[in-house]
């Protein structure tokens, strides 16, 4: 059971969701250069899944905010590199580089930041309207 949502809750939670996405992108990019001794240990990109949240009291009124429904790891196979001198190399002399596509991460980052900006815009517009309404009749 959720209480009724105001515009501040709606946009605020959407901003938190985009923040989670930006954190995931930052982690992925930070780990783009890591290597591991086996395909299982290699780093795999994280991606949040968003889900619309319709508060039960305002069902059917068109009001919805965003929840992060969880984070999944991409199934892209890690890159296999032959490097026998590497201390982490396996018996055949291979190391496994993180399965992170930097271009994809940059696009995700841009989209997250654009949507964050949109929500800020909604919030500041709503705030200025509320302030103007408080001064009505003066």
């Amino acid at each position: 059971m959720m209480k009724a949502l105001s515009i501040f809750d709606i946009s605020g939670r959407a901003m938190s969701a985009q923040q989670v996405r930006l954190n995931a992108v930052a982690s992925n990019l930070a780990n783009a250069q890591t290597v591991a001794g086996s395909p299982e240990e290699a780093y795999k990109s994280m991606r949040p899944i968003f889900k619309a949240n319709f508060p039960s009291q305002q069902m059917g009124q068109g009001v919805a905010t965003v929840d992060t429904d969880g984070i999944y790891r991409t199934t892209l196979p890690p890159e296999k590199k032959y490097s026998p001198q590497h201390p982490k190399a396996d018996e055949q002399g291979y190391i496994y580089a993180a399965a992170v596509d930097p271009q994809e991460e940059m696009i995700d980052m841009l989209e997250a930041s654009r949507q964050y900006q949109n929500n800020i815009e909604v919030l500041s517009t709503a705030k200025s309207l509320i302030l103007k309404t408080l001064n009505v009749g003066k």
């Binding site: 515009i7 946009s11 996405r21 899944i49 619309a52 009124q61 949507q115 309207l129 103007k132």
Partner: protein, 128 residues
């Protein structure tokens, strides 16, 4: 008191409907990246009419049946996307932002009208 209510009602109702629409459009923008989210909106003109426009039928005889305005308020509709995306999301940011800007301007206009009404009421009370 009733006359005062009637005097301010058109603008007050418009403001609350504009506020509701702002929340709906805000929800659409918030869910711009959510898979399978369907953008919604209300038809302002018909919603407004259902709140203030027609009113109830007057009963001049005791045998008349008072017909209440039956169209339920708060009917949201789904927006028809211009180019639907693969993940089932129908939010198109430019459309939502346009509607949001339009709604904001209309809200400010309503606010202006309400202020004017209150001001003229005051000047009538003072008799200046």
């Amino acid at each position: 008191m009733n006359a005062l209510d009637q005097y301010l009602k058109p603008q007050a109702e418009a403001l609350s409907l504009r506020n509701k629409r702002m929340e709906i459009l805000g929800s659409n923008i918030a869910n711009a990246g959510t898979p399978n989210y369907k953008a919604r909106d209300i038809d302002f003109a018909s919603e407004y009419k259902s709140v203030v426009g027609q009113g109830n039928l007057s009963t001049t005889n005791t045998k008349h049946i008072s017909m209440l305005n039956t169209s339920p308020p708060g009917q949201t509709r789904y927006r028809v996307p211009i180019s639907p995306s693969l993940d089932g999301n129908t939010v198109e940011l430019h459309v939502e932002q346009l509607q949001f800007a339009q709604n904001t301007t209309a809200y400010e206009a309503d606010l202006q009208f309400l202020s004017e009404r209150i001001r003229s009421l005051r000047s009538a009370l003072r008799g200046e």
